[in-house]
């Protein structure tokens, strides 16, 4: 464990992620989120916190549609995240992106993607940029096990290995892509072998163990910084449905029970209690703090004003370039009101 990150830090971040996901899930039930495409990362906190805290400021990353956790672990502001998910102008993407497209470039986040695999090749280019600019930064792609079956991953792995780029491909293997368990999507589950076949290092780590993730991540990030890219598979379990509404009828109760027993938050908390590093009061206080923080974020999102309809055409192009004209403006040009030419 590094000097600056303690197991308690990992636990605190995981508790905050869980609290965020629970709060946003409730916001959904109250009808406060934009649309229904809300994908919670409960059960994946070990992957998000373990990897996220091992990264350095300046490192860039892309995330997938289940990216709230990683984003929080990298310093995402819950208020602006919650406002974004609520579709408010105060959101980090002005309410344009929503849950699947949260981004804050000031944190090195290059964007969250709703196209499975869409963000993977970006880290190849970001690493190329890092090397070109001499920043010393690594670029990390977070994606799901579903993306392991997208061709673009293999093009990206090959490029990263070929060019010896500071890249880490981080697969959050929560065992499912929607209703399809990974063993129904791939004949070989040896993801490390896939990496090796392309000349990358391949490592699988049990992501219910946040400290193990942290240690592995620290190591592969250091290697990547030296031009040795890797694929890391973060093995975990998606505790709930694919989206907030999905009740996972395709899984047995037993499978869910067993999967949820791999709870990264409980696992680290139990361990730290056993080591006398944590007592119940501290844990309760940590949870209460997180709950308060996320309740405040929800209140902020709910109180935020709705987006300005007049701003619809902004940000399609750079602000110093003309915005595309609205259809109305075009009509006004062609058909001046009240002056039919007939």
């Amino acid at each position: 464990m590094s000097r600056v990150t303690s197991p308690l830090d990992l636990l605190r971040v995981m508790v905050r992620i869980r609290a965020f996901e629970e709060a946003v899930g409730e916001l959904f039930v109250r009808g406060g989120t934009a649309g229904t495409m809300l994908h919670l990362s409960i059960g994946e906190e070990g992957a998000a916190a373990g990897f996220g805290l091992a990264m350095r400021p300046g490192d860039t990353f892309t995330t997938h549609h289940r990216g709230h956790g990683v984003f929080l672990a990298r310093g995402g502001d819950p208020r602006r995240m919650m406002a974004e998910i609520a579709g408010k102008a105060a959101g980090s993407c002005r309410g344009r992106g929503g849950s699947m497209h949260i981004a804050d470039v000031t944190l090195g986040h290059l964007g969250a993607n709703a196209i499975v695999g869409g963000g993977i090749p970006h880290v190849v280019g970001a690493a190329l940029a890092a090397r070109h600019l001499g920043s010393g930064n690594v670029s990390v792609a977070f994606f799901g096990d579903g993306a392991m079956q997208q061709g673009v991953l293999y093009e990206s792995m090959n490029l990263a290995a070929l060019w010896r780029l500071p890249v880490v491909f981080a697969c959050v293997n929560n065992q499912y892509g929607m209703g399809t368990r990974i063993d129904r999507a791939a004949a070989s589950l040896d993801f490390d072998a896939r990496a090796r076949a392309f000349g990358l290092r391949g490592v699988t780590v049990d992501a219910s163990d946040a400290t193990a993730v942290f240690e592995t991540a620290t190591q592969v990030l250091a290697d990547a910084r030296e031009g040795r890219p890797a694929l890391v598979t973060l093995d975990c379990f998606r505790f709930y449905g694919h989206a907030r509404k999905d009740r996972s009828p395709y899984r047995t109760e037993e499978e869910e029970r067993e999967g949820r027993s791999r709870d990264p938050v409980a696992r680290l908390a139990d361990r730290l209690r056993g080591e006398d590093v944590l007592d119940d009061d501290t844990l309760t206080a940590m949870r209460d703090d997180a709950r308060r923080e996320m309740d405040d974020a929800v209140a902020f999102a709910l109180a935020a004003p709705p987006p300005d309809l007049a701003a619809l055409h902004e940000d399609v192009y750079a602000p110093d370039r003309p915005a595309p004209p609205s259809v109305d403006a075009y009509h006004a040009l062609v058909y001046p009101e009240g002056e039919a030419r007939a």
Partner: protein, 329 residues
């Protein structure tokens, strides 16, 4: 209002067509992400796996280029595959297989072969699904010779056009609308074949041309216009390839004014092709240039109010028609 005969949803109508296709032709296979156990992201294929088994209904990994490409190969080799592409936005990942492969094989190989493939997908706004899950991309396919393009608006057409697609010798891109799956009506025993546009409402003042979900918004607008004494002639194109503009031209000759309403973006969109053709075919009868009311030239935002502001609404259609007629809204 739901009446006794409004028993079938757009979703059910599609499923029944697939079921009938699977029953009558052993060469029909369905493949796509979550089409089997999950029953389809929008529930269209629900129950088909149980009924027809894993040889006919295949769950695939998330590999759009591979899935569509495999379907092209299956079609070349004697099957009649139906691919479900969960969102039309994901066509971007399979575009080579659609455009350079499926659409080209017959012509490029001198008519020796064909690709009897149905690519079912869905598009459009209405669920705050964001910029990568809400687009209307039919112009991409319209722009590609070799593809058929069906865009059903009604429950009856969803059923009968899909059945017709399953009889086509060439690839059909069949674009459903995500906001229509729960609409209901009588299934209807028949529908005109592809390539026949249908007048959904008669009126003498303005011709309104549309398809897919925008039909319903145009009909709502037509009602509001009627209250102002304006009678709209509303024509549903149903299929964009083949395209039947005869009723549009006939109507334009009577009204002299044509309003084209599409959900896809204005620039380079389907409405551009339609406006060009209406102008060419009905030039002497037009009082005004055909008016295009289409999606705004922006990526679709997730915030519901912004999303709705980016596409034609009944109110905007009504106002556009009044402007075209030279009246103040």
């Amino acid at each position: 209002m739901t009446t006794a005969v409004d028993t079938t949803t757009y979703r059910d109508a599609l499923r029944e067509a697939l079921r009938e296709g699977l029953r009558r032709d052993p060469h029909v296979v369905i493949l796509g992400e979550e089409v089997g156990r999950y029953g389809g992201a929008y529930g269209v294929t629900s129950g088909l796996l149980d009924e027809f088994g894993e040889d006919r209904v295949l769950d695939t990994p998330i590999s759009e280029a591979g899935i569509v490409g495999a379907a092209v190969g299956a079609a070349l080799a004697g099957l009649r595959p139906v691919v479900e592409l969960m969102y039309v936005d994901f066509a971007a990942l399979a575009m080579d297989q659609i455009v350079n492969q499926a659409a080209k094989a017959r012509s490029m190989f001198g008519g020796q072969t064909g690709v009897p493939l149905v690519l079912r997908t869905q598009g459009g706004t209405g669920r705050s699904a964001g910029a990568q899950h809400s687009q209307s991309l039919e112009a991409w396919f319209l722009h590609t010779p070799g593809l058929r393009l069906y865009v059903p608006a009604t429950v009856t057409d969803a059923h009968h056009l899909l059945l017709a697609a399953l009889r086509e010798p060439d690839p059909v891109v069949f674009v459903e609308h995500k906001a229509l799956y729960t609409t209901r009506s009588d299934l209807g025993a028949h529908a005109p074949p592809p390539g026949v546009s249908v007048r959904r409402r008669e009126g003498r003042d303005v011709t309104v041309v549309t398809y897919s979900r925008m039909l319903h918004r145009c009909l709502d607008a037509a009602q509001a216009l009627a209250a102002r004494g304006v009678e709209a002639d509303v024509i549903d194109l149903r299929t964009l390839c083949p395209l039947d503009l005869e009723p549009v031209v006939a109507s334009a000759r009577r009204t002299g004014r044509v309003l084209i309403v599409t959900e896809d973006t204005l620039t380079g969109g389907v409405s551009a092709e339609l406006a060009a053709r209406v102008t060419e075919l009905a030039f002497d009868w037009l009082e005004e240039p055909p008016m295009r009311l289409a999606g705004e030239d922006v990526p679709i935002p997730v915030a519901p109010a912004l999303e709705e502001a980016s596409v034609p609404t009944p109110l905007r259609i009504e106002r556009a028609a009044l402007r075209l007629l030279g009246r103040r809204a």
